[in-house]
């Protein structure tokens, strides 16, 4: 079976949507609204890259939406206290890394299942924030929006930052030994340990990286508006995990690549604006997104089935 089936099919679906938009609603392609649309999605793309790595390492992180909210509010407060932008960025990344490290500590060191750990931290961060802020927005200083640049420049900076992150992570997973270790740990923890890899360290660092990326995404998020909503990041975890799944990341770990995840992300991100521009009722958005995810999982399932029957030399039949 072709190794790039997933990339090709997702790219085809994406191409079809873009083509439909080009034919029936070319208003979609007006530069400024399109740039705004893309900018709005950039933070989620960064988070999606992180979650893809977490899933490749055979873990899951559903606390990222809450992490995003905490990082957004905290960095907003720092910015409101007139910290310089550079320090705000570093603080955001550091805070995210810290939150990720807490997840990592429970999952990697105490060996608790990540779904439960991050469910707990998801609720804890979200509720603590709600209690602390009582729903109040953070007003940001004037100079912060769009990094103090013109809107277009600010938007371009955000989009390019997100693409650079994607690009660097995509290259690292492919060309760095560290990336290979993530795949090894996700495929078979015990085999990885026996090969001298330290699976707990790898898992811990993946969660720390996840948090750091969330912190960066939070910064790129808050500079887009004059206020920080303490409810930001709600539902982000589902969006990111869905994009990773559509991009072919195996929920059972060890498989997936960030380029395909990027395509999956674009496909899901397109659905809602496409519906609006094609004047289809927006109620359909979630149903269509759900159908895409289901199709992706179905494709994985079918691939596994055919693999079982078309390779007689897989272990199950090998000793014949």
């Amino acid at each position: 079976m072709n190794a790039h089936v997933r990339e090709i099919s997702v790219a085809l679906a994406l191409g079809l949507i873009l083509l439909a938009l080009a034919i029936f609603a070319d208003s979609f392609y007006q530069p400024q609204p399109l740039l705004s649309l893309v900018t709005g999605q950039a933070p989620a793309l960064i988070v999606t890259c992180g979650v893809a790595l977490v899933m490749i390492a055979r873990q899951i992180d559903i606390s990222i939406g809450s992490q995003m909210a905490v990082c957004s509010v905290c960095t907003g407060l720092l910015a409101a206290a007139n910290w310089p932008l550079g320090l705000v960025l570093i603080a955001a990344i550091g805070l995210g890394a810290l939150l990720g490290a807490i997840n990592g500590l429970f999952v990697a060191v105490l060996r608790l299942p990540s779904i439960v750990v991050t469910l707990a931290t998801m609720v804890t961060w979200r509720e603590a924030l709600r209690w602390q802020r009582q729903g109040a927005f953070v007003n940001l200083p004037d100079g912060l929006q769009w990094f103090g640049m013109s809107q277009t420049h600010g938007q371009l900076t955000i989009v390019i930052s997100a693409l650079v992150v994607l690009f660097l992570l995509g290259l690292s997973t492919r060309h760095l030994a560290a990336g290979r270790f993530i795949y090894a740990v996700g495929s078979d923890v015990e085999a990885a340990r026996l090969a001298g890899i330290r699976p707990q360290l790898v898992t811990f660092l993946v969660f720390v990286g996840m948090g750091a990326l969330t912190g960066l995404a939070a910064t790129l998020h808050i500079v887009q508006s004059p206020q920080v909503d303490p409810n930001s990041g709600t539902g982000l975890e589902l969006k990111a995990i869905a994009a990773a799944v559509v991009g072919g990341v195996a929920i059972s770990g060890g498989r997936g690549n960030l380029w395909a995840v990027f395509l999956g992300f674009l496909l899901l991100a397109c659905v809602s604006p496409a519906l609006i521009h094609l004047h289809i009722e927006a109620y359909w958005e979630r149903a269509i997104a759900g159908a895409i995810i289901l199709a992706a999982i179905l494709a994985d399932g079918l691939e596994k089935q055919t693999a079982r029957f078309s390779h007689p030399r897989t272990p199950s039949v090998a000793n014949g």
Partner: protein, 505 residues
């Protein structure tokens, strides 16, 4: 025993074909199994044995040809139907539910719920106890499967098969994880079944067993039946010849020359967590030391201590004359120890990764000192080692999952040879591997020793340990009870392993 061939066969296959895509696994095989006989099925890996078994158990359907069970032609066999017709199979890897108890597992296989779906657990436990007793297994019906060792699980499987009262019993490598003692249990079960008129289809790579237990043997080669003979008409050499289709020396390469420097020395080494205690052992460069004993005697546990998986907590471990502590596999690899684990399917190779990635996994820091992968260097190194070990595969980029078991084992070995170890620990290196590959691996072990590697060989296949080792160390209850010279007889080794002879270290 009456001549079984006069009665009608229990199982008959006529001209059966089966293909998987382009691979023709069976090319017109005909085969007969009579009641009251043990019929061995032998052949190299990939000869079609497992496919044939799957046709009989209904897991696969033949493309052409006929299957008759008890004289009835069965066209659409499925596992449930085969079960009903009295076919049962004991697989190489026990297929039991790990979190359920022995009794619950037996119930799931053998019984149906009563009125309103009620289960009479006390009766069920009693029956489970009876079945276990009948095969002489000392296992409580209340133990959870995951607390049982592999051989114990295998015995539960066998009890299951007996409980079904099946007329056709298929045993696929039933002794792969059994030691001598459990093997004898198994053989007596087999003879018992035969006496009661069941037909036993016995599949094994271990020819000694086939000669011990079988009445007739059918040899499969490349999906075709080469012939069926009564055991007494055959010699071992003739059987191997017909399996392989060429001459293969049945004996391991001769033991090497003088051993050199002391590589590994253990003084009163122990690890309370894994039950290893007071082990004294020396392994020299250029020497193959075999570890023998009953399964559960602590050999794998000892290997895991040496490799830092469960670090030692008492005694001393010396490498090249210096006392060291090894607290993780990483430590062990840095000190040039390599460990080929038991159970390659789970931990030997990573199935989702390519062969090249598998082979370089333990040498990343040497091959990629800056952390950047170098695909060309990686593929070249992998290609060389695949050639050196004669791995049959599409090349370094093939996925490990696409290889047969024997070839996966070679890839696992290649990974550890790539680390250029000083001490190589091999845990069941030839389990489930065909005889040709087995000899290749034995030759390779000897080559390595000749190149100065100290080899510690662990195997439940006693003839293998006796053949390949320069010295044999016998373990019992987590400690070393004897060190014996090469060419020691099997019965002497077993006497120490069973505790009939005292310690003689």
């Amino acid at each position: 025993m009456s001549d079984p061939c006069r009665s009608a066969p229990l199982l008959q296959l006529a001209g059966v074909h089966k293909s998987f895509g382009a691979v023709r696994a069976l090319k017109g095989v005909s085969f007969e199994l009579f009641g009251g006989e043990v019929h061995a099925l032998v052949g190299e890996n990939g000869a079609g044995k497992s496919t044939l078994v799957k046709l009989v158990t209904g897991a696969l359907r033949p493309d052409a040809g006929e299957i008759e069970i008890m004289g009835n032609r069965v066209a659409h066999l499925n596992p449930a139907r085969a079960h009903k017709l009295g076919v049962t199979c004991i697989y190489q890897q026990p297929a039991l539910f790990a979190d359920l108890t022995v009794a619950e597992n037996l119930w799931l296989r053998l019984e149906a719920p009563g009125a309103l779906g009620r289960v009479d657990w006390s009766a069920c436990r009693r029956r489970a106890g009876q079945w276990l007793e009948r095969i002489g297994a000392a296992i409580s019906p209340d133990s959870e499967i995951r607390h049982l060792s592999m051989p114990e699980q295998q015995l539960v499987e066998i009890a299951c098969a007996l409980g079904t009262g099946a007329r056709i019993v298929i045993m696929d490598e039933p002794t792969a994880s059994l030691t001598q003692k459990e093997q004898h249990l198994l053989f007596s079960v087999v003879r018992n079944l035969r006496q009661n008129g069941a037909g036993i289809l016995y599949i094994s790579h271990r020819l000694e067993e086939v000669f011990t237990v079988a009445d007739r043997v059918t040899v499969l080669r490349d999906g075709q039946s080469v012939g069926t003979n009564r055991m007494e008409e055959l010699t071992k050499a003739a059987l191997i010849r017909s399996m392989v289709g060429r001459e293969v020396s049945d004996t391991a390469p001769p033991c090497g020359g003088a051993a050199r420097d002391l590589v590994l020395a253990l003084r009163h080494l122990g690890c309370s967590a894994s039950g290893v205690r007071d082990v004294n052992l020396e392994v020299r460069s250029g020497e193959v030391v075999g570890l023998a004993g009953l399964v559960g005697a602590g050999w794998t546990e000892l290997a895991r201590v040496l490799f830092g998986i469960t670090p030692a907590d008492s005694g001393e471990l010396q490498l090249n004359g210096r006392a060291v502590s090894i607290s993780s596999p990483r430590d062990a690899i840095d000190r040039r120890i390599a460990y080929l684990p038991e159970d390659r399917r789970r931990h030997g190779v990573i199935l989702d990764m390519s062969l090249a990635q598998n082979i370089t996994l333990a040498i990343h820091r040497r091959l990629f000192p800056r952390g950047w992968l170098r695909p060309r260097a990686e593929r070249q190194l992998a290609g060389d080692s695949l050639r050196a070990l004669n791995v049959k595969a599409g090349g370094p980029d093939a996925l490990a999952a696409s290889l047969s078991g024997g070839n996966q084992q070679k890839v696992a070995l290649a990974r550890w040879l790539a680390t250029q170890p000083e001490l190589l620990i091999l845990d069941e290196p030839t389990q489930g591997v065909d005889i040709g590959t087995k000899r290749e691996i034995h030759r390779r072990i000897r080559d390595l020793a000749n190149q100065g590697v100290a080899v510690l060989l662990i195997s439940s296949d006693l003839p293998e340990v006796l053949d390949v080792s320069d010295r044999i160390c016998v373990m019992r209850n987590g400690t070393m009870v004897a060190t014996l010279p090469p060419k020691t007889g099997a019965h002497t080794v077993m006497a120490y392993a069973l505790g009939q002879k005292g310690a003689a270290v």
